[in-house]
Amino acid sequence: MMSRLRSFGEFWYDFVVGDDWRVAAAVIAALIVTWAVSTSGAAAWWAAPAAVAVILPYSLWRSIARR
């Protein structure tokens, strides 16, 4: 039973989070920053593109460095 629950959890982690948890963490952080900035009334659309611009090369570089 425990091993089935574990496999179930691992499947969903792999499905949603994937190979690099930092990507998912960066997306969550970007959406929190977007929300925080937008509540102040300032333009907040830039946070998600900025996160993508930083996390994609960082994740790629880590992947290559590990090989």
Partner: protein, 262 residues
């Protein structure tokens, strides 16, 4: 068809086609290497399981207020998109083995040939059944998610469903017509395009759901999509300078298993 409807159709069609190519390879291996009847029973059971997921999630997704839907779905699409884009850039730059349906097919057929035959109920060959079932469900789940979320966000689930069905029917018909893996489909290029679309729509909807307003409204997507594509291509070009050593370069897959997923 408007621009955003065209983008919706293209994104869902390409994502579904890529997953359908992978599922078709697995089903063909199960049918050719084992037994067609059980393999097709597995396909039927897999499609029924996916239909149950759609029936359960569809109304639930439609009932969520658009504001929250865009926040959650945008975030998830952005994570999915970055995963696809990351793998596509690694493959395009020679740091990851290209997805080779021919190799996957041969490996699955070899594994199927070694497995023991076992009858369970109406299923004549349990191995062929489970291989097909898993292939259809695992490759189909992401497709179901993309179809439902793109359709809900654009208020056009029928168009998203039409794109998904068109892709699956086209790929399955081609696969069963040639009775061989669809190795000539430019799968890696399609994955790059899907990664770009998911990342762009994910950023757009996620930020809107979090309260941001895009300059130009929906037209911002017309800038986001090419910008993400150009960034991905630039990263692939830059990473080619750090390709593996020449002996590994001849066959980037050497020493590493070819991935079935992603």
């Amino acid at each position: 068809m408007t621009g955003s409807a065209g983008a919706l159709f293209a994104a869902v069609f390409l994502a579904c086609a890529v997953e359908a190519v992978e599922a078709t390879t697995i089903v063909l291996a199960a049918g050719t290497g084992r037994e067609w009847r059980s393999a097709l029973q597995g396909v039927g059971a897999g499609l029924a399981a996916l239909a149950a997921v759609v029936a359960a999630l569809g109304p639930a997704v439609s009932a969520i207020p658009l504001h929250y839907l865009r926040l959650v779905v945008g975030g998830l699409l952005l994570v999915f998109g970055l995963q696809w884009l990351r793998k596509a850039v690694l493959r395009a730059s020679g740091h990851k083995a290209l997805h080779d349906e021919e190799q996957i097919y041969l490996r699955e057929v070899a594994a199927a040939g070694k497995a023991r035959a076992e009858r369970r109920g109406v299923v004549g060959d349990w191995y062929a059944f489970t291989l097909s079932f898993k292939g259809v469900v695992l490759e189909g789940l992401e497709v179901v998610f993309i179809t439902l979320t793109f359709g809900s966000n654009q208020h056009d689930i029928p168009l998203a469903a039409l794109a998904a069905v068109a892709a699956v029917v086209a790929v399955a018909a081609a696969g069963f017509a040639v009775r061989a893996p669809l190795a000539r489909v430019p799968e890696n290029t399609m994955k790059f395009v899907v990664g770009v679309m998911l990342t762009s729509f994910g950023m757009f909807w996620g930020a809107e759901g979090a309260g941001a307003r895009w300059p130009g409204g929906d037209a911002a997507l017309l800038a986001l999509v090419p910008a993400v594509a150009a960034y991905g291509l630039a990263l692939a070009a830059a990473l080619r300078r750090y390709r593996p050593r020449p002996d590994a370069e001849a066959n980037p897959a050497a020493g590493r298993p070819v991935e079935v997923g992603g």
